[in-house]
Symmetry: C2
Subunit: 456 residues, 2 copies
């Protein structure tokens, strides 16, 4: 049986899809961190490439992908669509399970899809260096690769818990020419303040963002690049879903459920938004499932309100689902999902009942990841494993009810740099890590009491 659907490279999409004109409710404007008034685009130009700022607010439904970006995309795109027939058999389910496999990219995840255009736009606008943060290391290595490609410098602030867990991610960033600092670091005021409070903090994405923004503002010819959350990042990621739509046609099917993990929302947006558009156009009932970890449940337990994107309150405020910008999640292995906020586009679509958010525990997630690896021979990244687990759960329901649903997983990346997590799981050393402790609660007051437990 045919299980791999590869798009010819001549059919690589030439445009990204911009969901902004198709949202049921328009997004609320970002606010200036000082004035709390709607921010002018000009205020963002110090930080981001001009083209990225324009794309952030564009009302064009499709935006052309520049030829030099397509030229780089062609190193690994189109990525394959695979049918997980061996997993289906193991689950004895009538469901059909497809995955859009982004692990084929240079750095093993979807992140390169936006790293390349962000580096390109900065390059042609005269930027010489980019600063950024990284959680699991996927975004940092993607931006390092992109900067290398266009001959730019790259500085990465890597959340300390990941920095310690993943020396090979750091090695990959070095191979692609980036300078990597564990965050919090002594390189910035935000980092020094955090270290003064708690020398042993595992760090967080919110804090690493503060450091990268500070470094970008202080560096000559330096700008900042964000790997998720913002509209233009989700825009660049839609190439995933645009390819997948054509590949599902090749397979002669249409997904009843699209499922992907959510950290900042770019992987989810990338696979889901093109299918959302088609579902609206064709009045098709497609279910969109966004999967997050129980310890960092911004969609399922956060508030929908304005909040900062970073810990040090230097970014514009976005209206989004948030656990509070001071929230410090425990160092679970899915480092890419340890973010207090969520993309405004994803948040808006959750509010409008288009997206179903669910949260799962890391032990249950790893159980499904091991099942997936053993049946399909692909080792999911811990982030991706959240989506795999959700799909396994739905496929099991189908086995119970006899429903023949078609599931599509946005498979964001492979776990080759996360084998330490698999070792810990297989040897029984991985803790349950099931407690979400809200900011300001009695037990949440002391971060150390949470992080001292064996999560990793």
């Amino acid at each position: 049986m045919r299980t791999m659907f590869t798009l010819d490279q001549n059919d690589l999409p030439k445009r990204w899809y911009n969901v902004l004109p198709d949202l049921p409710t328009p997004l609320d404007a970002p606010l200036h961190p000082g004035t709390r008034e709607p921010i002018e685009p000009a205020a963002l130009l110090g930080l981001f490439a001009r083209t990225c700022v324009e794309q952030e607010m564009s009302t064009d439904r499709f935006i052309d992908i520049p030829e030099p970006v397509l030229d780089v995309y062609r190193r690994w795109r189109p990525t394959p669509l695979l049918r997980a027939i061996h997993l289906e058999r193991a689950l004895n389910t009538p469901a059909h399970i497809y995955l859009k496999y982004e692990g084929a990219s240079p750095t093993g995840s979807h992140k390169t899809n936006t790293a390349v255009p962000q580096a390109y736009y900065n390059k042609i606008e005269g930027t010489r260096n980019l600063a950024t943060e990284t959680g699991a290391g996927q975004w940092g290595s993607a931006l390092a690769f992109a900067c290398q490609t266009f001959g730019m410098g790259c500085t990465v602030f890597m959340v300390r818990s990941s920095y310690d867990q993943k020396p090979y991610r750091k090695a990959m960033m070095s191979l692609f020419g980036a300078t990597v600092h564990p965050s919090p670091s002594d390189e910035t005021k935000a980092g020094r303040d955090a270290l003064a409070q708690n020398r042993d903090t595992p760090g967080s994405l919110g804090l690493a963002i503060s450091e990268a923004v500070e470094a970008a503002r202080g560096g000559i010819g330096t700008k900042y690049a964000l790997g998720s959350v913002l509209n233009h990042v989700l825009l660049h990621q839609t190439i995933i879903g645009l390819e997948a739509e054509r590949q599902m046609e090749m397979a002669g099917e249409s997904p009843d459920v699209v499922v992907a993990c959510v950290g900042g929302g770019s992987n989810f947006g990338g696979i889901a938004l093109p299918f959302y558009r088609t579902a609206c156009e064709e009045r098709r009932a497609t279910r969109f499932v966004a999967v997050e970890p129980t310890v960092c449940p911004s969609l399922t337990r956060g508030q929908f309100r304005y909040d900062f994107g970073d810990t040090a309150e230097t970014t514009p405020l976005l209206r989004m689902h948030t656990l509070g910008h001071k929230f410090m999640p425990p160092p679970i292995h899915a480092g890419g999902l340890r973010y207090h906020g969520m993309a405004p586009i994803v948040s808006r679509l959750v509010e409008d009942d288009v997206i179903d958010p669910v949260a799962y525990n890391q032990l249950d997630v790893f159980a499904s990841a091991v099942l997936f690896a053993r049946t399909e021979g692909i080792i999911p990244a811990p982030e991706t494993a959240h989506a795999v687990h959700a799909a396994v759960e739905i496929a099991r329901e189908c086995a119970a009810t006899g429903e023949k649903k078609t599931l599509l997983i946005g498979f964001s990346g492979h776990g080759h740099f996360d084998m330490g997590a698999y070792s810990a799981y297989l040897s029984g050393e991985l803790a349950q890590a099931e407690t979400y402790i809200p900011l300001g609660s009695a037990s949440g007051a002391s971060c150390a009491s949470v992080t001292s437990r064996l999560y990793c």
Copy 2:
């Protein structure tokens, strides 16, 4: 420009190519380790699956791939053919450089191509467990995956230098359900003898083979599987070249040079043999370049004679290029190329001037690997990097002479589990490792004097 050529899964080859009837000189028969007389096929049945023994001596030019094997191949095959246009530009060469990318397999190398049929044939013939050795870990993880797929046990003896360098390879084997021992181990007499001689030995493939053969002979329902060298292994690997032939046609080109690394010869045979057949049929002048490390130069400095496949003299003797079965190469990072012998098919074709062997130093090899990673965004395994370096050298010659050659690299695997080697290279800690010290030479008498130097 189109740089990826993907074969439709419906066009997956259904037969392997067997070179034996097409060799210019027939192979010499294997000899029994006790009698030194040509060995009877029946004598091999205690160790190998019956079908593998039949294939080892088959004179059929094409052999059908069983449907259950195709069913597993379809998890990742056909693999992509890529054109390395960004590397070409960096070298400013008129040469066209293609790579057949086997890193897309479940365990990241070509090894699964033979692990799956070997496990399958054993399974249907009643074997319950397979024992094997592994150098870099690529073969061990491939066999672990294959045994997992068919519900069999798997025991792997992993050369100690790799075991210590690559904890994540071990984690992958555990994930796929295998039991892994560092070799030499206390599990076998061969291992105990070696440890008694030198407690700190880095081990070798030859020694690990002795341990695996001993474990297979001693285990109930247990047989042995070899990841390279033998005819049936090269047979299974020809799916690489068979796919690549069709993909080169899609690209509208034909290779002037086919280049691949050689450890035991299976990766090289897999890409080269189908092109050798076509070159003979169409009287085309194709150059076949086999690349080995200078510290383990079986083709360029070994003797063509009968020798054992293992250190403890338990395997049949094969006529091949060998450095002597007691040879203990230094622990370079290309662990998969640390073998004293060579596939008889490859050895024969070197003797008959069909194949050009070359040897390169690991520092030069890593320099080209870093160039390749930075231009193409794919990190080669250290073994694969030898082929990359050879192709880079040829492409540079083309740049100097203006010749517009078409090069095809058999790209055996990615280096995601070898980032420690890249870190060592980038930080300047990788030693030159250029000395080949023949067995029995004055300086070769003390292995410790070699291995105590900083190679890894």
